[in-house]
Each structure stands twice: as structure tokens, then as C-alpha cells.
């Protein structure tokens, strides 16, 4: 699988720029290599490929200065760097095309870049590092423009460890995330081509960053009232809406909101009685009270334990039935007791013993070896895809091979199998050195190779200074409630994939940490915001919005929630083989419980990490199954089902229609709707009537209003 993550990227840039006055011998790492990167020499398509090109191999985007020095100075009998006749060095004659060069003309003669290389060679091609890069600063880091086709200039400043600062704009590589939305000249002049928010990625040496450009979606500011503000979330959301001139839809109706928050917090439809009670409630804080009640419901535990199961990949495929029972059972306990998330994470990182008995041990059992262990841990707890750094430093982020193999080395002493034990020895080989990788906290520091480093890892992971842990957690919670992460995908936090609302993400993470990593607290905060409570119906001007929360997103019900909702409405439970009759889908522990409906709805099989996207929703096989399959049809035809019971009770059409509207859609049918169905359902006889009503119920179960949380 090594090769699976070799990531090859191309950054194309030309070298222009006039010559400037010469200074002391240029620094190899911080001046010479950026010239090569900027000229495109070390991209994956050129000399940066794993085996190089045309005999010259450079490290991808200059991540390995030692290798580059070796290639340039010592290979090819020193012809690449000709100290006796610097101008004749291949390093200069090839890219300027004085000699044939397959890669074409990359460097103008007598440009600043050319002279920099020449000066370095003239000075004897010194390799001693004079300074190391510490950080990049982009000015501005965010820019709002009044209209498209306006320009602004980005300045990139490098801060070095020795305290020096330098304008490196002309050496930086600029890549728009969306070339149709932004254009950037090699000198850092940005033109915005599309309305909305877009991102420019900036790279210099191993550091990357980004600049956000924004042009209002609508020319004029919305005329309606300013959107409501319930808590700190709304400050951030409203600020962006204001900048984008996006009008915010009003608060959703009571019954819509009740349905939404039930589905989000407990994965279960409200009963008609619960909706009625809520609507009749006159308390000013009745929504907050409702949230409180839901947080205490047993279905809350089912629903969130199921979601943990998807994230932690709880499947008997890997863990056996006993492992699933132990792990899921432990997760349920934590959710029920509201164990602070930092403690939960620590226990999973540190647990040892028999996975069939000790629940949290199974976190480590998901991974078959130290490297996949490192990848799993970083995906779950750091929200980071570390895989790229297996073969080379991550080209879009700060992660290095030392980080990747160093994190893996922390898990090298674990025995793998049903039981996870700490052994005396165990190593991970660093592919670059061929030596044992040194245990390392990623992006942080090396650890003493003796003993067990997992405690240090657990402390760092959940420590106050860790920038990833809390953000990743709150981003997942935000996605579960709002339908989209502030960072998407939720496991791809990196500096070049910024949040739509970075300050909000920070604020939520801070709030989460300050409240002891209390998941219920953050759920309270999010549901209390005006952003959460908006209607999904659009206003003129916010119809296309899908990421700034001008209106609520319409989301397909998650597969298990959908199955339970159908059972609830029809009054016929889904039967899962080998499990007690009353088992709901959200209470399932194992993804391998056979269920055609869940498969077609696109449940996560938990063999790999799953995005929250359920691929089955709206697919043709699912649609065919709804028309012809057993899932809905059998339930509707079931004589013990709700419809046939109501018919048995000799209820009128009107009562039956209203009852199903309340059950499925959590609202009363309007007068128009009642009149409509009265006309459509008029039947010659009781047999025909039964069929008409079955067909009505079938239609209701397929209505978008039922299948979605809106």
C-alpha cells in the first residue's frame, strides 16, 4: 500500500522579475531551493518525481534539502554545479535552455533568480544553513472586494528562526483553489473572477498558507431586518452574511423546528403528542427546555453511539461480535455519562488488554499495523489526513515524513490481535533513512525512544495547546446539526483548506475546551443559535447558498434514522435477524447486521472511514426498492400495521390522513391538503378505499418532506 499515497502535484509558475543588487552568498535552503520550486523544477511531473527525471532527482517541492544538495553537488561528476566556471553549471544552462532541456525554458538569463543561483555557485555553493523558516505571513490574509474583476496585491513575508523577516512574494508559489474563481499572477496580484468566497493557496519552502478573497453574492445589501443573534455563533455567521450581502431566512415554524431537533439530537421522529405539547407550551425558553429533555433521552445515547460507531469503524469484520459488543457498550456508557471527550480519547489511546473484554482497546484493534494506527488516530482525533506524509512531506500542509513515521513509531511496541499489549521492542523504519523512526508528536517534538510514549501522546492530543483536537470535535458536531462542516471534508483540516468561518470554528473549540470538552454543552450552544433555527425556505437572494447558513440545509435522513422513521409511521418495526423484536436501527451496534433497506440507503460499512454523505439516498436501486421491494410494501400491507388498525377502528379518511401527516411530517395537514385528499381518496367500496389509503401512505413515505430533515 505504500504506493497508494504517493501524491504528485504540479505547481506551475514562471520566473520573471528583474535583477537586483547582489548580496552575500545566498542561503541554500531558504534562497536557492525556493528558486527551484518557483521555477517548477521539483514538481511531481518533473525532477520531483519519485525517480526524478532526465537523471536528476530533486525532493518533491524541496522538502528534503539534503537530498537536493546531494543531487546537485555530487551526482554527474559535479557538472551540475561547476565551481570553476559557474556560468557553465548545468543548473544554469539547462533551465535557461542554453543546452537542450526537456522541461523547456524555466529561467530567464540575468533575472534575479538566475543571479541568485549564480552567486551561490560563485560563493562555492555553500550548504551550511544560515537560517530556518519559522512561519509565513500573508498580507492581507483576507480581502473583501466590491465586485468581480477587481484586483488586490498579496504580500508574503517569511519569518525566520533567527528573527529576520523577508518579503518573499516573488519566490512564493500561488495556487488558486478554484482557478475559475481566482487568478493570481506570479507576482501575487490577485483578480477575483466570481462572486462569493474563494481561497488562494500560498507556498514557500515547507510552509503553506492561504488568502481568502470575498466578493458579495448580491450587489445590494439585503433590505430586510438584520438576522437574529442568539449567541456568539450568530455574531460570526451574521458577519459573513453581511459581508456577502446574503439575506437570512426567518426562524422556522415551531413544528419544523421540533422535528428538526428531534431528528438531529435523538435520531427519532417526535410523536404527534410531543409536537402538540410543544406548540401549546407558552414558556419563553421552551426550545431550550426541549433540547434539555432530548439530551436526557435514551435515544440520544443510541443515536450518538451509532455515529461514534461509524467514525470509529465498529464492525465485527475486524473486531468480532465480542469486540463490537465491548466497544459499543463502552461508547454507550461514555455517551450516557457524558464523559468529557478528552478523557474518552485518552482512554482509547492508552487502553491495553483483551478487546473482547475491554471496550476502548478496540480503538487500536481497528489498525493492523503502526502506520495505519497513526492514520486512524490522526483522522479521528486530529481531523487530519496524514497519509501523504508516508512517502514524502505533505505538499499541501505542514506534515513531514518525520511526523508520520514518528507517530507510527509510538505504536510500534503494541502487539496486535485480539489483545493489545505493550511489548519490549518494536520499531517503524523511516523510509528515508532506513533507520528506526524516532517517536514524535506530529508537528511538535521528538520523544525519548525508550519506554512507552503513548501517555505523552495522549496528553499532547488533548492538551490545551493542541489546535486540532477541539476543532475537529466541534466541527463534527456542527456538521451533524447543520448538515455541513465549517471545514469540509471533516477529516481534512489543513491550512490550505480553511474553514468557511475560521473564527467561529476557533470560538466553538475554545468554548468546548473551556466547558471541559462537554459534548452536550456544545450541542446546546449550537441548537440555541439563530443559525440552527432558520427556515430552509429561501428568500430572494439566498437561493443558491449552501455554506453560509443563510437558510437551513435540507438533508436526507441518515439511513438508520430513515428506517426507524418508516417503522414508526407504519407501526411495523423492522426486524433485524437474531436481535430482539423491538430493536431500532439507531440502536444497532454492528454495521454487518443484514438489512437490504440499510444497504440501499447507503449505510457506512465501517470498513473504511465514511463521510457523512450517504451515497444510496436518491439512487435508482433504492428507488426501485421503494416501488417494488419489500421494505415499504410489506409494512403498508401488514394487517397489524397502523393503517389497517385505523381502518379496523372505522376511522374516517380525514382522521387517517391527518394522523399520518402528524406522524410522518410532524404537522397538521392544511385545509387545502385535507380537501385535496378528500377528493382523491373517495372510494366505491371498502376494498378500494383500503388500497387508496395504502397508496396515500406509500406516497407519504416517499415525499421529500418525509425523507429529509428540513
Amino acid at each position: 500500500m505504500l504506493g497508494r499515497y504517493i501524491l504528485l502535484l504540479t505547481f506551475a509558475a514562471g520566473i520573471n522579475g528583474p535583477a537586483v543588487a547582489r548580496v552575500a552568498a545566498p542561503d541554500f535552503e531558504t534562497q536557492v531551493l525556493p528558486v527551484l520550486t518557483r521555477a517548477g523544477c521539483n514538481t511531481g511531473a518533473c525532477h520531483g518525481a519519485a525517480i526524478g527525471r532526465g537523471g536528476l532527482r530533486l525532493s518533491l517541492l524541496g522538502y528534503d534539502p539534503q537530498l537536493d544538495a546531494e543531487s546537485l553537488l555530487h551526482e554527474l561528476r559535479g557538472r551540475r554545479i561547476n565551481l570553476a566556471r559557474p556560468e557553465k553549471s548545468l543548473l544554469l544552462t539547462k533551465p535557461t535552455r542554453q543546452l537542450p532541456h526537456e522541461g523547456g525554458h524555466r529561467l530567464g538569463k540575468d533575472t534575479e533568480a538566475y543571479n541568485l543561483l549564480l552567486d551561490w555557485i560563485k560563493a562555492g555553493a555553500p550548504l551550511e544553513a544560515r537560517r530556518t523558516l519559522q512561519a509565513l505571513e500573508m498580507t492581507p490574509s483576507a480581502q473583501t472586494l466590491s465586485d468581480v474583476n477587481r484586483k488586490f496585491q498579496v504580500q508574503v513575508t517569511a519569518r525566520f528562526a533567527d528573527g529576520s523577516r523577508e518579503d518573499v512574494t516573488r519566490w512564493a508559489v500561488f495556487t488558486p483553489a478554484d482557478p475559475a474563481a481566482l487568478r493570481c499572477s506570479p507576482t501575487g496580484e490577485v483578480t477575483v473572477l466570481r462572486r462569493g468566497q474563494s481561497v488562494l493557496m500560498v507556498r514557500f519552502l515547507g510552509e503553506v498558507g492561504c488568502v481568502t478573497a470575498l466578493v458579495p453574492v448580491n450587489e445590494a445589501k439585503p433590505t430586510a431586518n438584520a438576522p437574529a443573534r442568539h449567541n456568539f455563533i450568530d455574531e460570526h455567521i451574521n458577519r459573513t452574511l453581511d459581508q456577502l450581502h446574503l439575506p437570512a431566512s426567518p426562524r422556522a415554524a415551531d413544528e419544523v423546528l421540533v422535528r428538526r431537533v428531534y431528528l438531529d439530537l435523538i435520531g427519532t421522529l417526535p410523536t404527534p403528542e410531543e409536537v402538540a405539547a410543544y406548540r401549546a407550551d407558552r414558556a419563553a425558553d421552551k426550545f431550550a427546555q426541549l433540547v434539555e429533555r432530548l439530551l436526557a433521552r435514551p435515544e440520544f445515547v443510541d443515536h450518538w453511539a451509532y455515529q461514534w460507531g461509524d467514525l470509529l469503524r465498529i464492525t465485527s469484520n475486524r473486531l468480532q461480535t465480542q469486540g463490537v459488543a465491548a466497544f459499543h457498550g463502552w461508547i454507550r456508557e461514555q455517551v450516557k455519562d457524558n464523559t468529557p471527550l478528552d478523557r474518552m480519547a485518552k482512554e482509547m489511546v492508552l487502553a491495553l488488554g483483551d478487546g473482547h473484554r475491554v471496550g476502548p482497546v478496540n480503538f487500536s484493534r481497528i489498525a493492523g499495523d503502526p502506520r495505519s494506527h497513526a492514520e486512524h488516530l490522526s483522522q479521528v482525533w486530529l481531523g487530519v489526513r496524514l497519509q501523504c506524509a508516508n512517502c514524502h512531506n505533505h505538499p499541501l500542509d505542514r506534515w513531514t515524513q518525520d511526523d508520520y513515521h514518528g507517530l507510527a513509531a509510538i505504536f510500534a511496541k503494541l502487539s496486535r490481535g485480539q489483545s493489545i499489549q505493550l511489548q519490549e521492542r518494536g520499531e517503524v523504519i523511516h523510509p528515508k533513512s532506513g533507520q528506526n523512526a524516532l517517536p514524535r508528536l506530529p508537528g511538535e517534538r521528538f520523544l525519548n525512544a525508550d519506554g512507552d510514549q503513548r501517555q505523552a501522546l495522549a496528553d499532547w492530543l488533548t492538551g490545551a495547546k493542541n489546535p486540532f483536537f477541539a476543532r475537529t470535535a466541534v466541527n463534527r458536531l456542527w456538521r451533524a446539526l447543520l448538515g455541513r462542516g465549517l471545514v469540509e471534508p471533516v477529516d481534512d483540516h489543513r491550512s490550505t483548506n480553511p474553514a468557511t468561518h475560521p473564527e467561529l470554528l476557533d470560538a466553538l473549540a475554545k468554548d468546548f475546551a473551556e466547558h471541559g470538552f462537554d459534548v452536550r454543552h456544545t450541542l446546546r450552544v449550537i441548537t440555541a443559535s439563530a443559525a440552527y433555527q432558520r427556515s430552509s425556505l429561501s428568500l430572494p437572494g439566498n437561493r443558491t447558498d449552501d455554506r453560509f447558513y443563510a437558510k437551513a440545509l435540507v438533508r436526507a435522513l441518515p439511513p438508520v434514522v430513515m428506517v426507524d422513521a418508516v417503522s414508526r409511521v407504519t407501526g411495523v418495526a423492522e426486524k433485524f435477524s437474531g436481535l430482539p423484536d423491538a430493536t431500532t436501527a439507531i440502536a444497532l451496534t454492528d454495521s454487518r447486521v443484514p438489512s437490504v433497506a440499510l444497504d440501499l440507503l447507503g449505510r457506512c460499512d465501517r470498513n473504511q472511514g465514511c463521510g457523512a454523505e450517504n451515497s444510496g439516498a436518491g439512487s435508482l436501486p433504492l428507488t426501485l426498492h421503494k416501488i417494488n421491494g419489500s421494505w415499504l410494501n410489506d409494512k403498508l400491507a401488514d394487517p397489524r400495521g397502523r393503517l389497517h388498525q385505523l381502518l379496523h377502528e372505522k376511522q374516517s379518511d380525514e382522521v387517517i390522513v391527518a394522523q399520518f401527516y402528524r406522524l410522518a411530517l410532524s404537522r397538521q395537514p392544511s385545509a387545502t391538503e385535507l380537501a385535496h385528499w378528500k377528493g382523491k381518496l373517495s372510494a366505491r367500496d371498502e376494498t378500494e378505499r383500503k388500497k387508496l389509503l395504502e397508496d396515500f401512505c406509500w406516497a407519504l413515505l416517499n415525499a421529500t418532506e418525509f425523507c429529509c430533515n428540513h
Binding site: L7, G44, T544, L620, N628, N633, A637
Partner: protein, 437 residues
């Protein structure tokens, strides 16, 4: 079992209820609508994982042992076109094929490479591009009885609809067509609901969302409606359903395709194309040969004789022969490719890793000029030595062959215009009439 209230759906259709549904004879004829329009259909054999160019269509007998491996080149029907010796059944058909040996890409990771090869676009963080089949489905329009894009048995993730509406997603038949009793799930109602009730349900469903006004009539709702429409067209058409029935084929022909998943998938693809589906993708996700590549390709298991190459040899040669004999080859583009090639140098596990810089693909039928090799790679198969072809060039060529203007613009859901292909050049040599079609 017919129900007491009247005819079953099957009977209903047999006694001529078609017109009552608005499905007249002309609709039945629409099964062959694409033939009339003279636009070629396409069968894509997607060798997911990345087949080794050096061990299939671009052997390097003069390269060092660690590059060339043990397989030898073999002469084929067309002098000068040599391919791997384990393609004996394909060899007589090279007069129909066009092998391009100079594909080149920069993306050596599966998902990225697959996106590039299947869409003609490098992956973007802000937009998902539609795959070939989705674009074909989107442009063919009309209301075909068969879904316009079918995946046998299941598509790879990158074979999706991208920014195009969900209706252009591939219909996955799932399962294993080589298994006895294979059938597509839920094409028939077990309870034999009469057709008027299916129609009524459909009408009621439209009513609920329309009158309720709780969900806007865009996005989710439109997607849902399109899926139901397609599903009903399929359910109401016995002819369309018959297209999925492999048991209607003669046993000898089934044998000829090979009784494995790949062979029977190719046979099903031919049936579907014949019945009017404009794009079928057959996905074989087993080509990521990091270990023991020669055994995997030739033998399958130790001492076997049924590796990836023999299976592909049997299936692909049968498909070309069969299409040809039915007079369908001229109107069916056959495309065989994966997301990249494999490293010229063997790794320590006896496998080859990812190699996007030079690899081979094969085209046949559908307006392709057969009997030729286009482009070549260098002595070790590392880089294109002549006529480098990018996935974008390939996309421009494929769309040209399929009668879709590569410069045509589609719109994303938020109204952004995007070309079918951006940049690139048609590989003129691949076209029978030099691109004048």
C-alpha cells in the same frame, strides 16, 4: 398471482395497456433510438487500480530484466503490433483496436488519477467533475427506457455524476453476473401490484410535496423526481427489463465471454448497449498489483491459469467479436483503461507501484481507426517518447467520437458554466475520418 381486482401488471402490458400509460409502440421502438440518431454508444472497461502497461500492451523485451519482467511480446494480426503473449484471443483482433502507448498524467494516487482519467479534469477541491458516462447520459436526453448510464456490477467512486444532476449517476446493477440466478434487484414487484396503482402512487407522491410547499422545488426534490421517473420507465417496460437477463443468451456465447465476473459483465454490457443504453461501464477493481504482479496477471493463484490477463483476453476478445458479428461495433466505442500504469522497476514485493507518467490504453469500434498503435514510450516505459497524450486529450477524443462537442458548456447547480473538456487536443490518429465526424 393476479389479484381479484383485475389484471396484473404483466397481463396489463400484454393485453395492450401500453397506450393507457402513454407508452405506445413508438416508445418500445425508442429502445433503439440511439441507432437512429447515429450516435455511438460506449462500453468502458475500467481496470481500476492501474494495469501495468509494461506487461500488457507495451512490452519492453530489450529493457533490463528488472524492467521487462518474464512476459514476452507476441505478434498479432497486424504486423508490427506486438502485445503480451498471454493475449492469444485478442491478438487476432488488433485490426479493430487502437492502442495508445503514450498516455501521461502527473497524478499517481488512485482517487486523483481516476478522476483525471474518467473526467478529463484534474481533481479540484471546489468542484466534482462528471465522469464520461454521466456526460453522455446528460446529453442524450429524451426519456429512454433503460437508464442512460449503467455500471456493471458497481462503479468506482469517480464514475459519478459530479456537478451534473443525480439522475446522471450510474445505475449499479450490483451482484455478480457470473453467478447462477443473477438478477437485478427489484425490477419486478413480488406482490404484483397492478399498474394503475403504481401510477396512482406516483401521482399521489407528486401531490404531497407540491401541495405541502415545505420543501422547495429544487435540488433534493428534482433529484428525487428524476429517480422515480427513471425507475417507473424501467418497471413499466418488459423489454427494458429483459435487457438485464443474461439467461437469454446462448450457453456457448456465455462460455465464450468467460464464466467469471469480468466476462459476464462484458456480456451484460453488450446486451444493455444493444437495448439502447448509451453508456455502460464495466469496473474491475483488481488491478492494483503492488505484490507478485506476474503471478497475479498470468496465473491468478499459484499454478493457476486464470490471472487478470487471461480473463481480460477472453472477455475483451469475445466482446469485440460479438459486437462485430452483430454489426454493433461501428456504433459502439469500446474503451479499455485504468488510472495509470505501473513502475518500470519492480519493487521488493515482486510488484509494480503506481506510474502515471507513461501508460497505455486501448480503443476500438465506434469510429476508431483500428489496426494501429498511437504514440510510444521510451526504452524503459518511463515517459512518452513520442506523441504524449494527456487524459484531457483523451477526453476530447472520446467525446468527439461519441458526438459530444467537447467545448459545450454545462452549468453547476449555482449557475457556473463549465466546459465538457477544457483544453487538450483530439488525438486525430485515433479517428477513422481524422476527426471530421
Amino acid at each position: 398471482m393476479p389479484r381479484c381486482d383485475g389484471v396484473t401488471r404483466r397481463e396489463f402490458l400484454r393485453v395492450g395497456g401500453l397506450s393507457a400509460l402513454g407508452l405506445g409502440l413508438s416508445d418500445a421502438l425508442r429502445l433503439r433510438a440511439n441507432e437512429k440518431a447515429k450516435l455511438p454508444n460506449c462500453i468502458l472497461l475500467w481496470l481500476d487500480g492501474g494495469p501495468s502497461h509494461l506487461d500488457t500492451f507495451d512490452l519492453k523485451p530489450d529493457a533490463p530484466a528488472e524492467v521487462r519482467g518474464p512476459f514476452k511480446p507476441m505478434q498479432t494480426k497486424v504486423p508490427g503490433i506486438d502485445i503480451c503473449e498471454y493475449f492469444p484471443r485478442l491478438a487476432p483482433h488488433t485490426d479493430k483496436t487502437c492502442i495508445v502507448r503514450s498516455l501521461t498524467s502527473e497524478l499517481g494516487e488512485h482517487n486523483f488519477g481516476s478522476t483525471y482519467l474518467l473526467t478529463g479534469y484534474k481533481p479540484s477541491p471546489v468542484i466534482q467533475y462528471p465522469s464520461y458516462g454521466a456526460v453522455v447520459a446528460h446529453t442524450r436526453g429524451g426519456k429512454p427506457l433503460l437508464p442512460p448510464y449503467i455500471a456493471v456490477p458497481t462503479p468506482s467512486v469517480q464514475e459519478g455524476n459530479g456537478y451534473l444532476p443525480v439522475a446522471n449517476r450510474p445505475f449499479a446493477v450490483t451482484g455478480d453476473p457470473s453467478k447462477p440466478g443473477f438478477q437485478v434487484r427489484d425490477l419486478e414487484a413480488p406482490g404484483e401490484l397492478p399498474v394503475h396503482r403504481l401510477e396512482r402512487r406516483r401521482e399521489f407522491l407528486a401531490d404531497i410535496d407540491r401541495i405541502g410547499k415545505q420543501i422547495e422545488e429544487n435540488g433534493v426534490r428534482q433529484d428525487r423526481d428524476a429517480q422515480f421517473e427513471q425507475a417507473y420507465r424501467l418497471v413499466f417496460s418488459p423489454a427494458a427489463k429483459k435487457a438485464f437477463d443474461l439467461s437469454a443468451e446462448k450457453p456457448e456465447l456465455r462460455q465464450r465471454y468467460g464464466m467469471q465476473k469480468l466476462g459476464q459483465s462484458c456480456l451484460l454490457a453488450r446486451r444493455l448497449v444493444e437495448a439502447g443504453c448509451p453508456f455502460v461501464t464495466v469496473t474491475d477493481p483488481t488491478w492494483d498489483t503492488h505484490q507478485q504482479i506476474f503471478r497475479t496477471l498470468k496465473e491468478g493463484y499459484v499454478g493457476g491459469s486464470n490471472g487478470k490477463i487471461p480473463q481480460l483476453d477472453t472477455a475483451l476478445s469475445a466482446l469485440l467479436e460479438d459486437l462485430d458479428q452483430r454489426g454493433l461495433l461501428q456504433e459502439t466505442l469500446v474503451l479499455v483503461m485504468g488510472e495509470f500504469g505501473r513502475t518500470p522497476k519492480l519493487n521488493t514485493a515482486g510488484g509494480r507501484d503506481h506510474w502515471p507518467r507513461a501508460f497505455s490504453i486501448l480503443l476500438a469500434g465506434g469510429g476508431v481507426r483500428g489496426g494501429q498503435v498511437v504514440g510510444k514510450s521510451d526504452a524503459r516505459g518511463e515517459s512518452p517518447a513520442d506523441h504524449a497524450v494527456s487524459p484531457t486529450d483523451l477526453a476530447r477524443t472520446v467525446y468527439t467520437l461519441l458526438g459530444i462537442d467537447p467545448d459545450r458548456e454545462f452549468h453547476t447547480s449555482d449557475g457556473r458554466p463549465i466546459q465538457v473538456v477544457s483544453g487538450g487536443n483530439v488525438i486525430q490518429e485515433c479517428l477513422q475520418n481524422g476527426g471530421k465526424s
